[in-house]
Symmetry: D2
Subunit: 365 residues, 4 copies
């Protein structure tokens, strides 16, 4: 079941970029959740393309249709099938690309893997469009998490070498107010500039997203394999273009001594807390009670109009390719809600496994 | 089954640091593999403590006992239970530590998670000793991979801020010749110095391991969740102290433009190859045929003799702790074979899922 | 993932009796299968209600819509979402039944399990309508099985105490020619009579289906838990009204001596075969090469117009209920293709796990 | 992971009949269970051979060694490895049998499946000895179930055509007092006679076990695949020699009308109960609150000293075989605790999935 993830709250991804639809089946959602459809639509809107100068002009309304598992506004405990229909796809360019695999895209290994039977149009299953289904499932996960006081928020912390300073105050709203989803005004301006420059050079640019989950109780997680880190990482690598992940101080820990790296405990307000959070809220694969902090690196979207070297599979000769069409110059801003969704999915599953959300939410009538 | 990983080649971890044993059950190993016991012992020896000045003096011979699944020297297709008995544990210090959780260790969340019933001695399940079982399973995986021409090697690429240059030539042997497992002589010397300095300051130091898998055919992997990256990351986060992972150019991709990041295709020697490997051998979750390159960051081992702030759980007051005992000043050199093992486990599972290793290796009699 | 089954060829069931649709996601179908849509429609037609006097008059055309995983007529290797829209449901009677659970139906435990949030209309998830999705997946499984020479056929072997003799000759066609799917003319006539009698008495009647799978190679199956018997049984108990299962001589074996029960081996036509098949083609959970024979008992459909004792959940008092509406007087004839589907699903998964069907069927271009 | 079963309470079977040991890994047992070792030993003793004239003379003490997951008498939440060493095996006869597969045994398909690399001695993995591990896990499961008032008991209800009447009163003790585990004195006597007759004719005889689980709350189970029936059936078919299973009235339901088969509801003592239990305590895959009733058919053990037809695999000719050695003339009495164990394992998993047993049982210190 390689298209599924999760033990008790499990998610099965379906659909292709230029097929009929993309969507998701959520199995294991507790019964009795009053679905907040406006919140679901809002999450989809955050991920939706075509909303600013820094995203693709492909225009999908991304309305979500719920086909099962919900009755009279509440989840029933049965599998929830949600999907959005693909409408604005333009497959005309993909036949021409078929024999000259695009560098940096999954075209070539996918073609070999599936004997050429893959639905290659628009990148098929390897397209970022598939993440629309993740966001649907994530929206339900976020509602469940809210019931136990857990919130998951992310922001763009770097684009093309421009790094945002550590945010403070109400950065969540500030991030959403920025078209690059960076809460820092100055960094935001610089990031937009970097993207515009790449765009006008027919190029693309990568970046980073930082995601923070707060409100988790201590001891959520399942050693030794189904750790918070392992499950979050696995989920995040399902997002196209993700190439690196760190928790807490991450790479900087490799340069530290133990005396710097360890997060000391202290009593604060009657609670046992750590005075730093280098561990990113996770020790031994379990939550420490401190915020979970995960940072993710995205490579630049590989569809560039620059001439690139490739090969012609039909003739077996070197070739050149220019990838035109509607592509995001930088996927990072739109990836922010996707990262949140993946983290939310994993935390929901883990919290259900800890028995902290009941399987039936209230009783009807 | 949070202590298991893998779909067709699956591994279940068992044992505690100061319990009777640590080990592993391997389910799904093809029948007919002539087990190379010397190779298994050699892998265990690579991970074994007490072999140099930069590792702990805990001395375990780590002889592996195979209790099932092997008959007349060959695997039978049945579950293989392998374990090594714990002999040299010294649990005397752990009772004193029980109420003052060690910063940076899993003590506190584990205690909360398991209601205080965990076998805390020596770190219990959260101890690095558990990785001995991983190495056993990895040794079998490596033998299977060798049958299809896949090799997995790793080395220490950084310790405490000292970075090794990109290796060249026969770096595998060079790495093994170094007590810190770094193939570069100069860097090796500096790393040893950094470790010795930390050690004499009663401190510990972190570092990085880079692992490279060669010989993979194109198109191994299972989108969208059971990707090579996702599965490798999940497996690696089961290794204590791992806090960050990147594939290929990883974080540097976030700063690149698409025109730099994309790996162009070219015909070389009649084969379709990429002229660079920023993707780390993986696109769309599938192997590209280029070497898989994964880099892992380890935090410093948290057991330091320095006084550290903690809390006394019995009295609910702030406290101070000094963690003495036999601990590695730097775990990175011993982690090298563990990283290889985790990567080998995942690749074996993925290659079996692709049907590239038969389920029966030859026929007997 | 309680709504999913299968390791490599996995099936996730979705939909409710009176919701928008019922369907299935098939994950793990090899790429390159040229889907035989006529065969798919034919399987659906076999299960379809409203086709004879012995089935319900609910009339669904059960046209299957394929929403993903198929491109240019071939499977792509991606998840296949198939569904059929519910059109002819009549939910009017179910509100009245809500507080008086129908004896023999799942109403009461489902209500308790899901806190009353279940979509109870038409029996919801517990309805036989859900098996439409099984048949869709089964149709694909049958196509895959045909590629390796495996065929799965079933027939009605008993209804309401009328037992059919062991079939011979071309019983498959004969079974399909009978509206009760019994290949024996005389038994068929008696079965119809038994059903008609029950129907005119406002009652329902149970029966048995026997399913036979031929063409299996020796040694398919996975001990000790994922046996052929275990997996087939688990799949079959997902079919509403199934209450008993036997393989081969089944219950009669409990009365036999070993000397009768054992199937002797002999050389026949150069092959090693058994001269009897009391084991139903399975020993040690593995196929023996002889046909797999499984018999399944269905209880009578519980919706009867007879007055029945129940309780009024609102008032907490004893009550009486009469269940009217459109229901099959005997579900067994329509269950025949469903039983075949479940057996086909399991065998496909097991054969894929044995590596006997490649993951890519040919190469396109 | 074909040797594992269970989602939250999972069991991995290990060991061979004549290997070093047989055992089990239990993953997911809640922390804090005070293990009742006497109860564990008692369950093992019930299954142990060599205790009466109707069982094999192979004499194993079957002492259980616990190698992980238990600390200071309590489960820790970590995987529990339990095993018993094989001591009294006699492998001398098996080499002679190697080329003449025993009818009714798994010899031939296992040999084909594993290319001849299987540990065939004593039947290897297909031996009933493997069930010793099931009983170990079942003993823990029973302790967990007892905490929520669930009890699982079984008895021999038929042997070689002798059927016991429906038991009444305290049949549990009566069954244990009988060497065939049948609570009815007269039937017990007849069963012993049937076994003795078969034994003196160098033959074996089959039989049936009925298992009853009481105290279950309403609504335990997971539709549509992880039903109580599906999971119990799958687990039971892992027990060698099981060939048929029914729940409640089972096969008799196939002959009934709905008006007979349906279990009417009534108010009794303020509770909603059914006045009959034809459904065997399960509707829609969920518990109804009535006792779960499952009946299992065992074929005769196939090792008979009678001459039987087989083939010589070396020469490819017909051959004759006589299977001597120490074998149970009837496995049914010893299978009683094994059936209980399998039912207990499944119910424990299902009850954990319903959140009815906490994951930490109390708090230490």
């Amino acid at each position: 079941m390689s298209n599924s993830i999760g033990t008790l709250f499990s998610v099965t991804s379906i659909g292709e970029s230029h097929g009929k639809c993309v969507g998701v089946v959520v199995d294991g959602c507790p019964a009795g959740l009053k679905l907040d459809l406006a919140a679901l639509a809002a999450e989809m809107a955050r991920r939706r393309p075509g909303t600013s100068s820094v995203s693709t002009s492909r225009n999908e309304d991304d309305a979500v249709e719920i086909l099962s598992g919900v009755h009279e506004g509440h989840t029933t405990g049965a599998p929830i099938l949600m999907l959005t229909w693909n409408r604005d796809q333009d497959s005309s360019k993909y036949d021409a690309l078929r024999d000259t695999p695009r560098p940096g895209h999954a075209d070539y290994p996918v073609r070999i893997r599936y004997g050429g039977f893959d639905d290659y149009r628009g990148g098929g299953r390897a397209s970022g469009r598939v993440t629309a289904g993740f966001v649907m499932a994530g929206a339900i996960a976020k509602q469940l998490l809210a019931m136990v006081g857990v919130e998951v928020h992310a922001y763009t912390c770097a684009i093309g070498g421009v790094e945002a300073p550590e945010p403070s105050g109400d950065w969540v709203e500030a991030a959403e107010a920025s078209i690059v989803r960076c809460p820092d005004d100055a960094a935001s301006t610089d990031m937009i500039k970097v993207i515009e420059e790449a765009k006008s050079a027919d190029d693309r640019v990568g970046g980073e997203v930082k995601c923070i989950a707060t409100g988790l109780p201590i001891g959520v997680g399942q050693p030794v394999f189904d750790t918070i880190e392992g499950d979050v990482a696995k989920a995040l690598f399902a997002v196209p273009a993700v190439k690196a992940i760190e928790f807490g101080a991450g790479w900087r820990l490799a340069e530290m001594r133990g005396s710097e790296a360890n997060d000391p405990y202290e009593i604060r307000g009657g609670n046992i807390l750590t005075s730093s959070n280098n561990s990113g809220g996770i020790l031994g694969g379990l939550t420490t009670g401190a915020p979970i902090v995960v940072r993710v690196a995205f490579k630049p979207t590989p569809s560039i109009a620059h001439p690139q070297k490739t090969v012609d599979l039909a003739s077996g000769t070197d070739a050149e390719i220019r990838v035109t069409g509607r592509h995001d110059p930088c996927i990072v801003p739109r990836a922010v809600p996707v990262v949140e969704a993946m983290v939310a999915l994993v935390l929901t599953d883990q919290i259900l496994r800890r028995g902290l959300i009941p399987q039936v939410l209230g009783e009807k009538r």
